[in-house]
């Protein structure tokens, strides 16, 4: 980083940007992250459940072919680098949002990138549920749907909250990347000022704010997970 980062002019300019653009950028980053995470969970949770209950010996075994296809699709989406995925989903983004640039438009690639990841996280959470408890529920005459809704998901809530926290912090990181294709938020500020215009102090501020946001999400998530867990005395 250049040594002239903290010259009086640079500081003054950075403060000006901080006042005029940063509040909106924080808000944009926040709502893009939260909305993307919410949509990713809406899509990823059922898929994660299917990954666990649908396998052989699961609560609701599905045809082998269907399970195979599901796994392939999830792995495929997870292996595309996010930067390239953003560009690849342009047509879909245009259909859904009407445009491919802008803050709202960046939600589409974020969701596409995140839901397979969320599905895998949900899968790992649900696998932690003691199979004996599931067997006990079966012995009481619980249907597969009741086992999913009343046993598997409630029993893994602490782990699901922990994993949702991982998801939201990861998506926060991705959302900064979407600044490259015109997505708004702190990522855009960092790229536009830091990368294109060499205003490193502004970039530094944006990065610090991103770090703080990750910290906040993480500590809220960790606290919620611990608090929800009734196994801890």
């Amino acid at each position: 980083m250049p040594g002239n980062m903290f010259t009086p002019e640079a500081v003054k300019e950075a403060l000006e940007i901080f006042k005029t653009q940063i509040p909106l950028a924080i808000w944009e980053t926040f709502y893009v992250t939260v909305l993307s995470t919410a949509f990713a969970i809406i899509l990823g949770l059922p898929l994660g459940v299917l990954l666990v209950v649908g396998e052989k010996g699961g609560v609701l075994p599905l045809p082998k072919g269907a399970m195979h296809a599901l796994n392939v699709i999830i792995n495929l989406l997870r292996s595309i680098p996010f930067l390239i995925l953003m560009i690849m989903v342009f047509p879909l983004t245009r259909v859904i949002v009407g445009t491919t640039v802008g803050t709202v438009a960046s939600i589409v690639p974020l969701v596409i990138a995140a839901f397979p990841f969320v599905a895998r996280l949900v899968e790992s959470s649900l696998r932690e549920v003691n199979p004996n408890i599931i067997e006990a529920a079966q012995s009481m005459g619980a249907s597969p749907l009741k086992i999913i809704c009343k046993v598997m998901i409630p029993e893994s809530i602490p782990s699901l909250i922990s994993n949702a926290t991982i998801a939201i912090t990861t998506i926060l990181g991705y959302s900064a990347m979407s600044g490259i294709i015109g997505g708004g938020g702190l990522g855009k500020i960092a790229i536009n000022y830091g990368y294109y215009r060499y205003k490193f102090l502004v970039m530094l501020i944006a990065v610090i704010l991103l770090i703080i946001m990750v910290q906040v999400f993480q500590s809220i998530g960790t606290k919620a997970a611990v608090k929800s867990d009734k196994r801890l005395k």
Partner: protein, 335 residues
């Protein structure tokens, strides 16, 4: 009544087929406390899971009440399972629900209104002696308390049959005893048929009326507890009754005859049998091994003695004249 008819269960594994159950035929009467005992790997857990179809038998029939379990549709089976409930070695409570809600769980599945379910759950917690733990979570309870909650949960749907899968194996002896007393009590008060799976002799002795001994997937003996344990015939039964091995004794000496004395509910346990044989008959017997147990205040068990060859007939004659004793000569080469 529970009937198991020609039941077989084979598991397909990578190393070939494993026959977990072979030609099981058992009848368990209503209101009975029926023990199924065997060593680990004998197939006990598979057998009990065949009763409620958690495991599908490979062949044979399971009839509970008037229903052929294998012929029920999935929905019918789920309904039937509410009348055949189960408790487990590891209790298997829902860890994220408090005790009251754990007991409510099977009633939720049944669609019983919440208020009514809570009222009944509170009653059941009273029955198992833990009314003050309604709002505690399972992790806050001891093993014995958790099993009590599990029992309350198992009773929530007014079952006809209670299956206990190693229900006391994770508990200490005192807690085991109190849980068994509770099960006995429930059997008496509510008339529920209880099937007890265990590897512990003491459990069967404590509460069972009838017992089946399972060994390598087969029922090797079954009948009244006193009959089976008093005179174990199969090797598996002997191993259970005499865990240290009745035959691990001195090698046979020259010029000696060995006699096996079976106490089969005799009152002779009080009498100095060997001493009086020496005093009245002049037979000098060596005691090689003895193991006796008492059920319902009668002595069961066996003793192995050795007498000089020339006194063998005298000894046999004397012992056979005693009541409740069976004597047989043990051939050295048979051991």
């Amino acid at each position: 009544m529970i009937q198991l008819i020609d039941l077989n269960k084979t598991f397909k594994t990578a190393d070939g087929n494993v026959e977990a159950l072979k030609d099981i035929n058992l009848t368990i009467e209503d209101g009975d406390i029926f023990g199924i005992i065997g060593m680990s790997g004998a197939g006990k857990s598979t057998l009990v899971r065949c009763i409620n179809m958690l495991e599908r038998p490979s062949s044979g029939k399971v009839i509970v009440g008037s229903d052929d379990m294998a012929a029920l549709s999935p929905a019918e089976l789920r309904r039937k399972r509410r009348s055949i409930t189960m408790i487990f070695q590891q209790f298997n409570l829902l860890m994220q629900r408090n005790c009251l809600k754990n007991v409510c769980f099977p009633m939720e599945l049944e669609g019983i209104p919440k208020k009514e379910a809570r009222r009944k759950a509170a009653e059941l917690l009273e029955l198992v002696g833990l009314p003050d733990k309604a709002l505690s979570y399972p992790a806050q309870l001891s093993g014995g308390q958790q099993q009590r909650i599990a029992i309350a949960r198992a009773l929530a749907t007014n079952p006809e049959v209670l299956l206990c899968d190693e229900a006391t194996s994770a508990l200490d002896p005192n807690t085991t005893h109190s849980i068994l007393e509770l099960i006995k009590d429930i059997n008496k008060k509510l008339g529920i048929t209880v099937v007890v799976i265990t590897h512990q002799m003491s459990v069967v002795e404590d509460i069972c009326k009838n017992v089946a001994i399972l060994d390598e997937g087969r029922v090797v003996e079954s009948g009244k507890v006193a009959d089976i344990f008093g005179n174990p015939r199969s090797d598996a039964a002997k191993r259970l009754v005499f865990p240290d091995g009745e035959e691990t004794i001195l090698p046979p000496g020259e010029g000696e005859t060995r006699l096996k004395i079976l106490f089969n509910g005799s009152a002779t346990a009080d009498k100095p049998l060997i001493a009086s044989m020496a005093a009245t008959q002049g037979v000098m017997a060596k005691i090689l091994g003895a193991s006796t147990r008492s059920f319902n205040e009668q002595a069961f068990g066996e003793m192995l003695i050795s007498v000089p060859d020339d006194q063998a007939q005298t000894a046999l004659g004397y012992l056979r004249s005693e009541k409740g004793i069976i004597v047989e000569e043990v051939k050295n080469d048979a051991r």
